[in-house]
């Protein structure tokens, strides 16, 4: 295993999963860096769309929030949020929606609202933002998050954004235009979803991570692909782009 951090591996694995994608609805932080890395490597034609109302962003610096002015300067379009959510997202133009999660269950259902009860929560989280409608309307959803037994849970405390509900057939029966979660990338590995059951399946572990490590950081009896892969190390170029261009101060990727 080379000299790179868990977050760098997470970003690189997230970027690689975007190969060939066109329009990506992206949040700030690690997903933003992953998409920016993809744009410079495996998906040069990818267009970034931010829920703040920007399409086709070409930020000249690392944006520190999804409303950063650097996202507007040089973008293809800056628009109202009515337009963004109505015509672009609900209108079906978004290929991939990137979401994060405080809690995720085996069917890819997401909680970003509360830990504990709603009325007097143990931890009040930010809430949905655009995540609920992204989860329903983007053609597919990628989840990027750090993994632990506290975040990968048997039962989420609140369903903010629907994944495969209780199974793939249940999701498909809804008739939503988005097919839901397709890839989950964590600091430990990469997951796909079983097309029949809608359940997450571990497809790759990152270098230096064992299947036992992943199981210890998962709150349910995890399904593992028969041909479990090991993610190739980040390349020198991927690391250079992250360290020198995308997050030179290590704001997000350090640690």
């Amino acid at each position: 295993m080379g000299d790179f951090s868990k977050n760098e591996m997470l970003v690189v694995a997230g970027a690689r999963a975007l190969a060939g994608k066109r329009v990506c609805f992206v949040g700030i932080g690690l997903p933003n860096i992953a998409v920016a890395l993809a744009q410079r490597t495996v998906a040069p034609a990818i267009e970034l769309i931010y829920e703040s109302g920007v399409y086709g962003a070409r930020p000249a610096r690392l944006p520190l929030s999804i409303g950063d002015p650097c996202l507007v300067t040089g973008a293809t379009a800056a628009m109202s949020m009515v337009e963004l959510f109505s015509y672009y997202l609900q209108g079906g133009l978004v290929d991939v929606g990137f979401l994060g999660a405080a809690q995720l269950d085996r069917f890819g259902n997401i909680n970003t609202t509360v830990i504990g009860g709603y009325d007097r929560p143990k931890v009040r989280l930010p809430g949905s933002g655009g995540a609920c409608e992204i989860a329903i309307n983007a053609r597919e959803v990628f989840v990027l998050m750090r993994q632990s037994a506290r975040s990968f849970v048997e039962r989420i405390d609140f369903r903010t954004s629907p994944g495969n509900l209780g199974g793939a057939a249940l999701r498909a029966a809804q008739g939503w235009q988005g097919r839901g979660p397709s890839v989950v990338v964590t600091d430990l590995g990469r997951y796909g979803f079983d097309p029949d059951t809608g359940e997450m399946v571990l497809e790759a572990v990152h270098p230096g991570v064992t299947e036992a490590d992943v199981r210890a950081a998962t709150g349910w009896d995890l399904r593992v692909a028969g041909d479990l892969e090991v993610t190739p190390d980040p390349t020198d170029e991927e690391l250079r782009l992250i360290r020198e261009e995308l997050d030179p101060d290590g704001v997000y990727v350090k640690g």
Partner: protein, 291 residues
Amino acid sequence: MVRDGDTLAIEGFTHLISFAAGHEVIRQRRRDLTLCRLTPDVVYDQMVGAGVASKLVFSWMGNPGVGSLHAIRRRVEHHDPAPLELEEYSHFGMVGHYAAGAANLPFWPLRSYFETDLPKVNPNIRPVTSPFGGEPVFAVPPLNPDVAVVHAQRADAAGDTQIWGLTGCQKEAAFAASRVIVVVEELVAEEVVRADPNRTLIPGIKVDAVVVCPRGAHPSYAQGYYDRDNRFYLEWDRISRDPEALEGWLDEWVHGTATHEEYVEKLGTERWAELTPAPALSGSVDYGDYR
């Protein structure tokens, strides 16, 4: 123009957030306000910490790019010093909440909320079926704030208001509100507005007051005028974790300054120099002269 008990929207998606108006509300020691915004961030944390609000209507709460809003979290998690009522949507739901208010519609339909817990905690999010074929969607009711405050790059004396950059939900909030206050970086001649009508967000007929307050969006930003002061957003994380530090900050920077002008001066010229971007002009377009 803001009274105790009012529903107040200080909109702005990261961009053009009128901190100056929020601070003035704190100085006036208003009470029992319902604060609306898609993204309650630092100015709402300051207002909640100062005790002006009893309810939030929102869709995402956080310090963007930094973390949590600790004054709000103390009220929600520990009821410290008192509970804070929440009415929670998703972004598109909140957008529709304003848009229905602005368009005088009984509801706004959207393809969201299916199979989620949000409608369980907010009875204002309700399933409806399309009268054209019975398809299920969700609906949110209109939101009509008593007062909307919009920060903008420029307006003329009649209140015709223009902005560029992120336009968020300011237009919907303003058209939905009973009273509209526009706070601007610059007051310009009517001809400036008339030379570029596509950039007008709100016409003067919807505007009740224009306040000229350069840099009134700090630490948020005005595209082309000054950058977002990310250092302040990071500092707020530390200040807001400690109620005494928060109190001290309000005493020094809000109650301790009589006007936003004093606040701007207190920040110092060096800070402002750091926040000033180089120009990136849009070029110009030809509207044509059709005499």
